[in-house]
Symmetry: C2
Subunit: 596 residues, 2 copies
Amino acid sequence: MNNYRSPLNDLRFVLHHVLKAPEVLATLPAHAETGAEIIDAVLEEGGRFCDQVIGPLYQEGDKGCRFENGGVTTPKGFRAAFQAFTEGGWSGLTAPAEEGGQGLPYVLDGAFKELINGANVAWGTFPLLGHGAVEALRHYGEDWQKQVFLAPLVDGRWTGTMCLTEPHCGTDLGLLKTKAEPLGDGRYAISGQKIFITAGEHDMTDNIVHLVLARLPDAPAGVKGISLFVVPKFKVDREGNVGERNAVACGSIEHKMGLHGSATCVMNFDAAEGWMVGAPNKGLSAMFVMMNSARLGVGLQGLGLIERAWQNALAYAYDRLQMRAAGGAAYPDKPADPLIVHPDIRRMLLTCRAFAEGGRVLALYATLQADVAHNAGDEAARAEADTVVSFLTPIVKGLLTEAAVECAYHAQQVYGGHGYIAEWGMDQIARDARITTIYEGTTQIQALDLIGRKTLMANGAGLKLVLGRIAAFCKENAGNAALAEFLPVLAKRAEQWGELTQRIGAKAAGDANVAPAAAYDYLFYSGYLTLAWCWAQRVAAAEASSASAAFKQAQREVARFYFAKLLPRADYHAAAIDAGPAALMALADADVGVQS
Amino acid sequence: MNNYRSPLNDLRFVLHHVLKAPEVLATLPAHAETGAEIIDAVLEEGGRFCDQVIGPLYQEGDKGCRFENGGVTTPKGFRAAFQAFTEGGWSGLTAPAEEGGQGLPYVLDGAFKELINGANVAWGTFPLLGHGAVEALRHYGEDWQKQVFLAPLVDGRWTGTMCLTEPHCGTDLGLLKTKAEPLGDGRYAISGQKIFITAGEHDMTDNIVHLVLARLPDAPAGVKGISLFVVPKFKVDREGNVGERNAVACGSIEHKMGLHGSATCVMNFDAAEGWMVGAPNKGLSAMFVMMNSARLGVGLQGLGLIERAWQNALAYAYDRLQMRAAGGAAYPDKPADPLIVHPDIRRMLLTCRAFAEGGRVLALYATLQADVAHNAGDEAARAEADTVVSFLTPIVKGLLTEAAVECAYHAQQVYGGHGYIAEWGMDQIARDARITTIYEGTTQIQALDLIGRKTLMANGAGLKLVLGRIAAFCKENAGNAALAEFLPVLAKRAEQWGELTQRIGAKAAGDANVAPAAAYDYLFYSGYLTLAWCWAQRVAAAEASSASAAFKQAQREVARFYFAKLLPRADYHAAAIDAGPAALMALADADVGVQS
């Protein structure tokens, strides 16, 4: 009863018309050959895989994984779909040819990930974290480790995990206790318990490669004493021979609110054999390499879920007859009018559309910048794009996952009582979406990252670049009549964004709580501003395209809706920021809950 | 792992100090004897029942009801708890003595309902709808119907239901198809299918009394052709003798997102024997009598869930150690600082506290006004109070249920990954809360009710009374130093509330979509304004009380937080209202989803 169709038309519109991805990629040596035809062909094939193979398993997946005798059985059909995925070569989409990959750009991978997550977000978690493991090994692994682990991870014979969280620490990895004892021959014995390990155990592949944070015996306390280890489920020697079962086992799987098709495992390491990846006590940097890739990936989970919520809510709003339009029957031949005639139903639907289509530009812009950051011939261009991706990553993750929660909420609400019933699948979207604002760094952590490391500590480098690009966009479109109503608002808002940031910076110097108290609202303020830019870009691109008049008008009207009804939320966030930390911090810890 | 303790201290504070309930009740002939001691004794006993009997069953209840062979088995312990409930005399708390009730005021029942919903909202649905049935029978039933049905419903030997929704209609009852054929002897044969019937079938009582909306054979189409019938599960004759099984049966129970402990039934009526309640084709008015009581009840579900979310999140924030305070270690002897030191954790906690404590004033104020509306000696006083309750009901229902969804979200977020795991129970709060914005009229329906029937169509009668009371409060406290920072803001906001309403009214005359397009934002605007008044009242009451300095300060600081960080949301809603309906309605129905 819950459907999904890959939004290929809009993906093509965004990639070709809004972002002009083929033109940007043409400037990158590694992707000079990735023309529009290849992009379209991959999207077409990827869409088919998502719509026909994993999409139909979405509600089945909600029945969950089973844990028995230390093993995890994935939902019916998941294993076969994974086989189809690897056989189709989807696993190594962005990996270079020498690792056995397709060498395609990140932006195309981002588009494909959106489709996977729209079609079946839980299924998508099985391949997802392998990418992070690959990134970590590629950057920090010794040659033999790359030789042994990369190929099977890239082609999907094996999957990967990120083993960070422990029962007493998630956000605060400095507290972690898992130990790594050197065995003298380059091997380490890893002991400890990791929790919330996505795809820590499953029945899809022969081996699973765990990337594990642990402490050496002499490690300093805190985050400066964390090292990274590779620990395969079945032991692998330096020649790549797979041996006996390693001493790592799944102790149980969590009963979660949603994402039931994804196995969230307690992993027990009992002197499991592993090798260090990178330098001793430098595990956190390696972890961040995995994490940044994973954060954009979770932002794309948000995007996929928004699209799924929106598609179903829209279909229901056309189908369900209930009450008459305020001005009188709009469809007098029907017993009642369809929901779509009601203003507040439209508010919820347009909110979903604004986040889905605007968010698509945002997320794919970030992934396209990742391509530039990795592959531009010019070092300065690489550095600049890298700064932009770093700045946008917490916005993509924070805004699109929170928007997913909001849009899932709206979509359920459009369904009324039926939105609460499992059969219709809308509650599953809401339950699945709920984890996205938590894992791979909560919204709070994204917010601190954005305002701290990515802004105040970087002297606003990322913001300045983005503001520069907004200014360039405004200048370029100065004579564009279709944008006349939007550009002055966008320019004014961009100016306010800079001023707000400076106000925070000025106050932050004198009070350590200013930045963390402003962080959450700053994330959303920045998100709404960025999305305004995305919507202005969509209008400009639609206008310049040969799309239908109806589509052009729809883009203009959704942009108007966004500017009139959603962008003003930025003012609320600015007001909350300007109120300062006092309202949050005045009470002593013990008095936050004091009763009469 | 998920706890609840009846917030008796704050209930006493609200009833005695903020609302001065004993003084108000003393002016009502029916409740002149309900002094502070009785209130406290009932609260104390009620709190004990909730904390000791139903509270511990909260997570067990999430395992759900079972449907087998047409029967519904409620979760372990639910039946025994219901027995304890009726034996304790809780079922008939507000019913008059002549019906076998305790004759206590609505405000006390409201307080008790908050406790029930905080302790176990799903369990609370079993007694909840009996109250609506009682109200309908009391107002519209024939004498013999009152004689036969009221006593067992009041004392809890039987429970009641409201059978309104059908598969093709929920909000739009004009579409309903269930038929009632007269049998010639005063009896009717009811046939049709009703869905989403809370407690439609269960194992708690011997009989269940269904109040069913259906159409007579010659009924006009639409809502003017709906009549109300009483249809017991086991037939009852005019003398009250219980006979054979009636032809009404539960066909299945729904698999829902949450509220698993509550049986949501498909009820099939197959020429079931029933009697008309009230006049032919006047069922909708009778339905509204049930509905209004149920709507306040659902608002109190929201309140109970907010309190539960807040209590657990607060405890976790004190307990969980993660990261250091921004200004350096606050608890250097611990391996990390508790979450409570982090500004954004406090933002989430204080939001919960602001809604819980402010919402308590709002909800209990409304129920106290219901007492005045029913029992004041003076007719004008009754009418005035009735107008106020009518105006506040959609605000209580709309705001407190939406706030419950929001606060459950915050509380989960405070728990991080553990908030997503069933064991901790936070996800259950979120899942349970999600239905409250849907049933008994969605938030959208509350919003239309508030802006339409309760405001524009009533010439602003309710708003004027509330604004008058706010003005009186400001005047009364003009010299109160503790309120000096709040009153000018409150007075200014109240003025804006009136102006905004007039702007909407003026525009609504020319465009039927103006009011429904503004409705949602107007509901929240009104809600935030009302809550600002509630918070000002709390500060005034705390200041005037002999409470601890810490409590007084906490009230001031949470009020400051509310005024600085939550009340500005009203501006966003005002901006969205002033943007008008164009942004929502410009696109043709078919183009809302048009793609390139």
